[in-house]
């Protein structure tokens, strides 16, 4: 009922012009109004999902902590070693205890958020851009180009993900940038497929046909019309995979092939702590919890976004 009312309201607000007065209309106004009200409707639907809001709040806290980590605790404090206080459990001075080198685990987790979020979000962002270009081209052009791109993605998807990532990291070398590139390359086929199918849902629409007949160039049509209209599934996929990417990046560091200690990355912290799990389990407990909470908040948000962007998908 409320949706119908909203639609009626929107219809009333949009002025339908007479054919003679088309030149007098500022065409930019119409899409702006529609986009604004669409965003509001999505935001309203998102806020109705309490779990999604909880996810958003948790993730915002983690993101702000990562951005302002240096303000809370200087980076040097996360690297400061003190053998005299090594392997201590929680105390008033060291909230989450200290590691094998006497470094404060809480400080390391705060600074680790930067690396983990940067890897997860960076890999997804670059992957979406590159996969987006390939997927949009395949979906929009079709024909031989579509077949070639899709067969390539099919082949890449057959290679076990971890094998591909580990081989790429071994080839490129162990660093934050290389982990990011390896993850992005490994996820590229998935993004290309998602974006292609999203593009296919809008490619035959009348407004695309109209744009084509006006003589618009292919990239203009893709970036101006196709992608903005197919953005829903892309955003959902991106939100859901940031959590997965954070887990995978931690896995690579855990195997000793990602970001190297003493950098306070969560996976690297787990890797350092795994040799002491029998004596000092807190070394692996807290970094793992940090990964799980971040991924959990992103999954909650992704779920809420999916329902908000396409209410038909909601059960």
């Amino acid at each position: 009922m409320s949706n119908n009312r909203e639609e009626n309201k929107m219809q009333k607000e949009v002025h339908i012009p007479e054919m003679e007065s088309l030149d007098e209309i500022n065409l930019d106004e119409i899409p702006k109004m529609t986009r604004g009200s669409q965003l509001k409707a999505v935001w309203k639907r998102f806020c109705r999902n309490r779990l999604a809001v909880v996810g958003l709040v948790i993730f915002s806290i983690i993101l702000l902590t990562a951005i302002f980590a240096g303000v809370f605790v200087p980076y040097e404090k996360a690297l400061e070693q003190n053998i005299a206080i090594r392997n201590q459990t929680s105390s008033a001075e060291h909230w989450l205890g200290t590691d094998n080198y006497g470094r404060d685990i809480f400080f390391r987790i705060i600074h680790g958020a930067r690396y983990s979020l940067l890897t997860g979000m960076g890999a997804v962002a670059v992957g979406i851009i590159c996969g987006g270009i390939l997927g949009a081209l395949a979906g929009f052009r079709g024909g031989l180009l579509d077949t070639i791109i899709m067969r390539c993605t099919d082949t890449l998807l057959c290679i076990p993900f971890m094998l591909l990532v580990l081989a790429l990291v071994a080839a490129l070398g162990t660093s934050l940038t290389n982990v990011l590139i390896a993850l992005m390359l490994a996820m590229l086929p998935t993004y290309a497929r998602v974006i292609r199918s999203a593009v296919l849902t809008v490619v035959d629409a009348d407004y695309i046909e109209a744009s084509r007949s006006c003589g618009a160039k292919i990239w203009r049509i893709i970036f101006k019309h196709v992608i903005p209209n197919a953005v829903g599934p892309i955003i959902v996929q991106a939100t859901m995979t940031v959590g997965t990417m954070i887990i995978w990046a931690a896995g690579i560091s855990f195997l000793g092939m990602g970001i190297q200690p003493p950098t306070p990355e969560w996976g690297a912290m787990l890797s350092e702590g795994k040799n002491f799990i029998t004596t000092t389990p807190h070394l692996v407990l807290y970094p793992g919890l940090a990964i799980a909470i971040t991924a959990f908040s992103l999954n909650l948000m992704g779920d809420g976004l999916r329902d908000a962007l396409d209410p038909r998908l909601k059960d």
Partner: protein, 318 residues
């Protein structure tokens, strides 16, 4: 149907050649001279040069790759640069361990995920549904290698109930299988719930209810068989994904499987071994996908009918 299966098997061959090219190229980019890596830093330059010629590394990349492909298709995957043993034998010894682990984990995921998914769908918007979906969300967010360490701390260190490494008995597989299954439980639970909810809303279910059929019969006799069909595909896809993701779990539990072999081989730049493992895993994934498609066609009467109709039509036209 047979035509389709043959076509699918034939497609595997060029795909494997491309996969081999990708992995071979990546390994080529890995820094370090193979001969130097094998002989060590103290070896003389003459010895390194001689081994480089023996390994064929004095030839161009594409020539070496073509040679490798030809040999691989005749069953010769070469010998490990580190151990000198046959790659085929080494992978074959470890493969059953990895498969066993993946099967245990998948069985656990199916036994927990699917019933919980059905329960969530049947009792939609109830406490069961809320708990089920939140449980799935938590399971999807927990890194399997971290869960593995937590389980070791609890069941091996504190309670001393289960072994924390090795593969000697069934008990050795419990903790790795549980750790590996957590993400799969989440996927199966959510997917089963979605398909079951869709199925329950279908007209034929409403008709069955209107005819006075008992609720249990409606859910388990009518809706469930149809809802489980797409779940089979997802189970297969997840199993394939699991084969690739065993590396971390095998490392945590010191399990001598293919995952561990890949990890060590990549670290040592043992190109023949990495290639052998990659071909084995990729071929397994491709074959698994083919088996799923065939099983699906046999189980689903709609797809079976389509093939039969197509075959009859073909004959009629001939």
């Amino acid at each position: 149907m047979i035509k389709y299966v043959i076509k699918r098997i034939l497609i595997i061959i060029p795909m494997l050649v491309v996969v081999m090219f990708i992995i071979y190229s990546i390994m080529e980019m890995t820094p370090g001279e193979p001969a130097r890596l094998i002989l060590g830093t103290n070896a003389s330059q003459e010895a390194v040069d001689q081994l480089t010629i023996e390994l064929g590394y004095d030839r161009p990349f594409l020539v070496r790759y073509a040679d490798y492909v030809v040999n691989a298709f005749t069953g010769d995957f070469g010998e490990s640069w580190q151990t000198g043993r046959s790659v085929f034998q080494e992978v074959l010894i470890r493969f059953p361990t990895t498969i066993k682990l993946a099967v245990f984990a998948m069985a656990l995921a199916v036994l927990i995920g699917i019933p919980l998914g059905i329960l969530s769908a049947v009792k939609q918007y109830s406490v069961f549904d809320g708990v089920g979906t939140t449980f799935a969300m938590v399971m999807a967010s927990v890194p399997s290698f971290w869960l593995a360490m937590m389980l070791i701390i609890l069941f091996s260190v504190k309670l001393r109930l289960l072994p924390s490494f090795g593969t000697g008995s069934f008990a050795h597989y419990i903790l790795p299988a549980v750790s590996m299954s957590c993400a799969e439980i989440a996927v199966l639970l959510r997917f089963t719930r979605t398909t079951m909810v869709e199925e329950i809303r279908q007209d034929y279910v409403r008709t069955a209810r209107a005819k006075g059929q008992k609720e249990n019969k409606v859910v388990f006799g009518h809706a469930l068989p149809n809802a489980l069909l797409p779940v089979i595909t997802v189970t297969g896809t997840e199993f394939c994904g699991m084969l690739g993701g065993v590396v971390t779990i095998e490392t945590v539990f010191s399990i001598n499987g293919v995952g561990m072999l890949i990890y060590n081989s990549i670290l040592q730049k043992d190109v023949p071994m990495v290639m052998g493992c990659a071909i084995f895993l990729t071929a397994s994934v491709m074959l698994m996908m083919l088996v799923i498609d065939i099983v699906y066609a046999f189980i689903d009467p709609r797809i079976k009918a389509r093939y039969t109709r197509a075959a009859k039509g073909g004959k009629a036209s001939e």
